[in-house]
């Protein structure tokens, strides 16, 4: 089956009308947006020709719009508390998890109700999710110029090693920015897609991705348009920022600056360290000029060898995940076809040496390691939006960290192990441990450790109304489902009586729906619109998308897979929804969407079965039993 071509109901389909899609690399230190032009992915520059947008947001007083990018980065030292950098390191996390944020006073944090940290700025408390939304908004605006309108859908990349909370928080940021997320794509996979398209080398590849704040290693197989991730490992708090911090600390000690630098001086030092680091990639030695608070200049110098000694252990830390990923992929090092370098930090010569030594070969850097992820995301976005219906590209990714549940004694029982291909579904049965126990408390966890307290807590929920039985008699089936974005949903059900409780897991360190809603209200683009209007607009959009998709499906398969009565039912429900969607009655529109969903269930299933039959038709002895009475 090919991708559906979709047109507005009532309008004639324009088969060659391209839809506006973009790929976004939301990075720790900088971000990019790319789109496919004439079949080739291209990163989109700003008016001054700059492709990299520094991931820095400066908040201003009196309701003035936030400044994003180079201008914000330039203001870091002058206005450190209102200028937020590297927020990706905090997205979906609590402050306690990152000592650098808790102990070093880069910022001041506001007291808040949620566990999510908020920066105290002149524009009020700002969460990392909101700051990320500003960056996404700036990129979408840039893309709109090239695309001739706001993107209709985007693919946003995330580190492969991001956990459920971090992924959920990224989706929240996109929602606040008003973007339609087609898919969250893992950064190393995106890079592999860009390389696959460019070079087409089949085989098993390792993608080593060291960015500003995160490290990923993915091993994947590429054959006949299929990118199959075999394993992934990493460290979601290791990157160029740590290198800068090391160098900054060294300069501070050499220059005899005390530990009590103010926010501005500290940020200035980090900016200087970054420049020296970049210089040392091309030069064996760099001179350092630092203006001290007293006004006089300190002059120093550092050799590449000294620098490498400072950061050797950081680079060494990337090798344990490499070892793990190779082992988990079940391959030997000499079975690898290519090693690909991604992320700005792979420009550091020591990184290249370490990678070459570990993998026993030189790595590929033909595509700019800063841009390659955005390019891959653009390719995927172009396909998902429906611009390449004949594409046979398929991405099979994995979850980076095991998902499980707390059992007696504070232990974690894994339900879906790491490196399981997604989407994934797996069920496990649990039982009661007391006679007459009528409720079961479920604690959902992510991580590899045995003890609950060493893993990340994703959610807690309760299954109530279990009929009283002797201990061990109840059969409670807990089902974990992970979608193609790597997001988990969990349901639990008592088997004997069918009592069901179902939740969608929300991260403990994330935002509540109310918080997201209030941020939506606060977002600049929608200041003129109240929440009710926005909800209605989104509902109407959902109704339109549902009608478009179904209309297209009917045109293609309606005659073949449905009888006259079934077609009449669906047409009736479609007409009702179409009519109600002209009005403003939310309840009625929602009801009509649900009704259309209900009457078209059988059609969706038959289309799916039909697609399966087609897929298997070329495989001989197809003893496919999924027959139907259509």
């Amino acid at each position: 089956m090919t991708l559906l071509q979709i047109s507005e109901p009532g309008r004639s389909p324009e088969p060659h009308a391209r839809r506006r899609a973009a790929g976004i690399d939301l990075g720790t230190t900088h971000s990019l947006v790319a789109t496919v032009v004439d079949g080739r992915p291209e990163t989109i520059p700003d008016a001054d020709g700059r492709v990299l947008l520094p991931s820095v947001v400066r908040y201003l007083a009196d309701g003035a719009p936030a400044v994003v990018g180079d201008a914000a980065r330039a203001a870091q030292a002058e206005d450190p508390l209102n200028t937020l950098a590297s927020v990706k390191r905090l997205i979906g996390r609590s402050i306690d998890e990152l000592p650098e944020f808790a102990n070093r006073s880069h910022y001041e944090f506001a007291a808040g109700d949620s566990i999510m940290p908020k920066f105290a700025t002149v524009a009020g408390p700002i969460s990392p999710v909101q700051a990320s939304a500003e960056i996404l908004r700036a990129l979408a605006l840039r893309a709109a110029g090239t695309l001739g309108g706001a993107p209709e859908g985007v693919v946003i990349t995330v580190p492969a090693y991001f956990d459920d909370s971090q992924r959920q928080a990224t989706i929240d940021a996109a929602r606040i920015a008003g973007l339609n997320v087609l898919r969250l794509l893992n950064e190393p996979t995106a890079a592999a897609v860009a390389y696959g398209l460019d070079r087409g080398t089949e085989g098993v590849h390792a993608v080593y991705d060291l960015g500003g704040g995160t490290f990923d290693i993915s091993i994947l197989r590429f054959t006949k348009g299929v990118f199959e991730v075999l394993s992934t490992a990493g460290d979601s708090a290791l990157g160029g920022d740590d290198v800068d911090a090391r160098l900054a600390a060294w300069i501070r000690a050499q220059a005899g600056l005390g530990d009590n630098l103010d926010h501005g001086a500290h940020r200035q030092l980090l900016v200087l360290a970054r420049a020296i680091k970049e210089g040392l990639s091309d030069h064996a030695e760099m001179e350092i000029t630092l203006s001290r608070p007293s006004g006089e200049n300190w002059l120093g110098r550092i050799t590449r060898a000294q620098f490498e000694e400072l950061i050797a252990d950081l680079i060494e830390r990337t090798l344990a995940p490499c070892r793990q990923a190779v082992k988990d992929a079940g391959i030997a090092l000499d079975e690898l076809t290519e090693v690909i370098l991604v992320g700005g930090s792979t420009r550091i010569p020591l990184v290249r040496e370490a990678v070459a030594k570990f993998f026993g070969r030189e790595a590929h850097v033909e595509i700019d390691p800063d841009r390659v992820v955005a390019l891959g995301a653009a390719i995927q976005a172009d396909i998902l939006i429906g611009n390449k219906p004949d594409s046979d590209m398929l991405l099979l990714d994995v979850i980076p960290l095991s998902l499980g549940i707390e059992t007696m004694g504070g232990l974690t029982e894994k339900i879906i192990p790491r490196n399981t291909t997604i989407p994934a579904v797996r069920a496990q049965d649990f039982t009661t441990y007391k006679d007459g126990q009528t409720a079961l408390s479920l604690h959902v966890l992510q991580g590899e450790r045995e003890l609950v307290r060493d893993n990340r807590s994703l959610a807690r929920f309760e299954l109530r109304g279990i009929p009283p039985m002797v201990a061990g008699a109840a059969r409670i089936r807990v089902t974990f489902q992970v979608d193609a974005d790597g997001l988990l949903s969990v349901s639990a059900r008592e088997q004997t009586q069918g009592v069901e409780s179902r939740i969608e897991v929300k991260p403990s360190y994330g935002l509540s729906d109310e918080e997201v809603e209030s941020m939506l209200t606060a977002a600049m683009d929608h200041a003129h619109e109240d929440m009710d209007q926005r909800r209605l607009r989104e509902l109407k959009l959902e109704a339109n998308q549902t009608m478009e998709a179904l209309t297209a499906a009917l045109a293609k398969d309606g005659e073949r897979l449905l009888d006259a009565g079934e077609r009449t039912d669906i047409a009736g429900a479609l007409a009702r929804l179409h009519g109600l969607n002209q009005g403003a009655d939310e309840t009625a529109i929602r009801g009509a969407i649900d009704e259309l969903d209900r009457v078209s269930t059988v059609f969706a299933q038959r289309r799916m079965d039909d697609a399966i039959r087609n897929a298997l038709s070329g495989h001989g002895v197809a003893e496919f039993s999924g027959d139907q009475d259509a």
Partner: protein
């Protein structure tokens, strides 16, 4: 309910249940089905088809992971034929229990001596044992309608296969530390 969602793992691939599977053919079927069912193919579809696609692609992944490995395939066949392997089998053959102890001791000795050739030889031996049990399992339980007695023997073969696999995993997990 969707028809395909109710199917067993083999039927999903259009295959009859058997232990003797051409894994290359299985992979090609998996790939072509995933090209059809994967959520990436339904990005513009109705919410209902998107949900269905996630469920089916997930089931396909699960089925493929079970069927592509002989050990999990054997377990699945035993489950389908009402002889599910127990987590702590009580009825193990005494000879097999003794063999387990001997193999563990042998591994300890080989490991301590640290002779790479002996370590490799030990692992090769385990792989040969696994292959032999797979052949035994295939003979006993490859086709539908096997006798209960045969299925019971097949289950015993599964237990041995499982033990050799775990022992092999132990060996492989230990190896990197030696380098």
């Amino acid at each position: 309910m969707n028809t395909a969602l109710q199917q067993d793992h083999f039927a999903l691939f259009g295959l009859t249940a058997t232990f003797d599977l051409d894994t290359g053919d299985l992979y090609r079927r998996y790939r072509d089905l995933q090209r059809t069912l994967h959520p990436d193919r339904f990005a513009g579809a109705s919410p209902q088809e998107r949900r269905l696609s996630v469920q089916m692609a997930a089931q396909l992944n699960e089925a493929y992971s079970v069927l592509s490995q002989p050990l999990t395939r054997a377990r699945y066949l035993l489950e389908c034929r009402n002889h599910p392997p127990q987590s702590n089998p009580k009825d193990l053959d005494i000879g097999f229990l003794q063999e387990q102890i001997l193999l563990r001791e042998e591994w300890e000795d080989v490991r301590r001596a640290g002779d790479q050739t002996a370590i490799a030889e030990f692992q090769l031996d385990l792989k040969r044992r696994i292959e032999a049990e797979e052949a035994e399992f295939s003979r006993l339980a490859s086709t539908v309608g096997g006798a209960d007695a045969d299925l019971e023997l097949a289950r015993q073969a599964f237990y041995r296969m499982q033990f050799y696999h775990r022992q092999l995993e132990d060996c492989q997990a230990w190896q990197p530390a030696a380098n």
